[in-house]
């Protein structure tokens, strides 16, 4: 529980909470990026440099943009506040989340024994990631390739109709 962890955790939680609670959709996305940046910083702190930067690249650079576009596309007034859900649904949602959190926290607090860091500072250097990727994880890589292509085509098919449908 160092200061930096607290700070970053605070940023991540703040961002996430804001993303889920702000009234304006675009603000939510911006808050989400804040949370993602906080998470990425946590990854960096944990020594997973490549993952952290990837997180920024993908979430801030691409997913956020895509989400913003989706908002621009589907809200006739992007700036207007979102209608809140009914009180009952909000209550039940919050309760469920709280319950889940309680269970998780209990599991964590009881289940995880404090553990010292094993050996030297692990550093997932990009080269190691690359080697692992091409040797041990070749199959997942190819599958991800297929998945991405499928996603591209799928999303494209869904979106193409917007362009006029006849293509």
């Amino acid at each position: 529980m160092t200061l930096s962890f607290m700070l970053l955790a605070a940023i991540a939680i703040l961002g996430a909470a804001a993303a889920m609670n702000l009234k304006t959709a675009v603000h939510c996305v911006l808050a989400l990026t804040l949370g993602m940046v906080g998470l990425a910083a946590l990854y960096l702190q944990l020594g997973a440099q490549f993952v952290g930067l990837t997180q920024v690249l993908v979430y801030v650079g691409a997913v956020a943009i895509l989400a913003v576009f989706a908002i621009m596309l589907t809200r006739s007034r992007t700036g207007e506040t979102l209608a809140p859900g009914s009180v009952s649904s909000r209550l039940s949602g919050a309760l469920t989340a709280l319950l889940v959190f309680a269970v998780l926290a209990w599991a964590i607090l009881t289940g995880v024994s404090p553990q010292p860091l094993s050996g030297a500072q692990p550093e997932a250097s990009v080269r190691e990631v690359g080697v692992a990727l091409m040797q041990r994880f070749v199959l997942p890589l190819e599958i991800i390739g297929v998945l991405l292509t499928a996603a591209l085509i799928g999303a494209g098919v869904l979106a193409i109709e917007e362009k006029g449908g006849d293509r």
């Binding site: 889920m20 939510c28 490549f50 990837t54 997180q55 859900g85 607090l109």
Partner: protein, 103 residues
């Protein structure tokens, strides 16, 4: 309370926030964002476990997260496309209304 559990707790918090968002928010895009948050909370767990695990040199956690990000991206792309496609049919992204319209 040290390191690993604090990360896990943070992850749990994020997960719950995401979950609550996904349950409470009625705008489909925000629900999707909530789901992304939950995914990321899981990712944080992976990284933390990798970092504090027995074989950090094996990079399993890291690789998992990388693939997870890839999948999340694909999910976001398709998910947002679906939302947009749904919007095309129902003229709304409000899930309650969509439910209602579906009957």
């Amino acid at each position: 309370m040290n390191s690993l559990s604090s990360y896990l707790l943070l992850s749990a918090v994020l997960f719950s926030i995401g979950l609550s968002g996904a349950l409470i928010r009625r705008n489909a895009i925000l629900v999707l964002i909530g789901i992304e948050l939950m995914l990321n909370a899981a990712n944080l767990n992976f990284i933390a476990f990798w970092r504090y695990g027995r074989h950090p040199e094996m990079l399993t956690g890291v690789m998992f997260v990388i693939f997870s990000i890839g999948v999340a991206a694909a999910e976001a792309a398709v998910g947002l496309s679906i939302i947009v496609a749904v919007y095309r049919h129902f003229r709304t992204t409000d899930l309650d209304k969509i439910n209602f319209l579906k009957g």
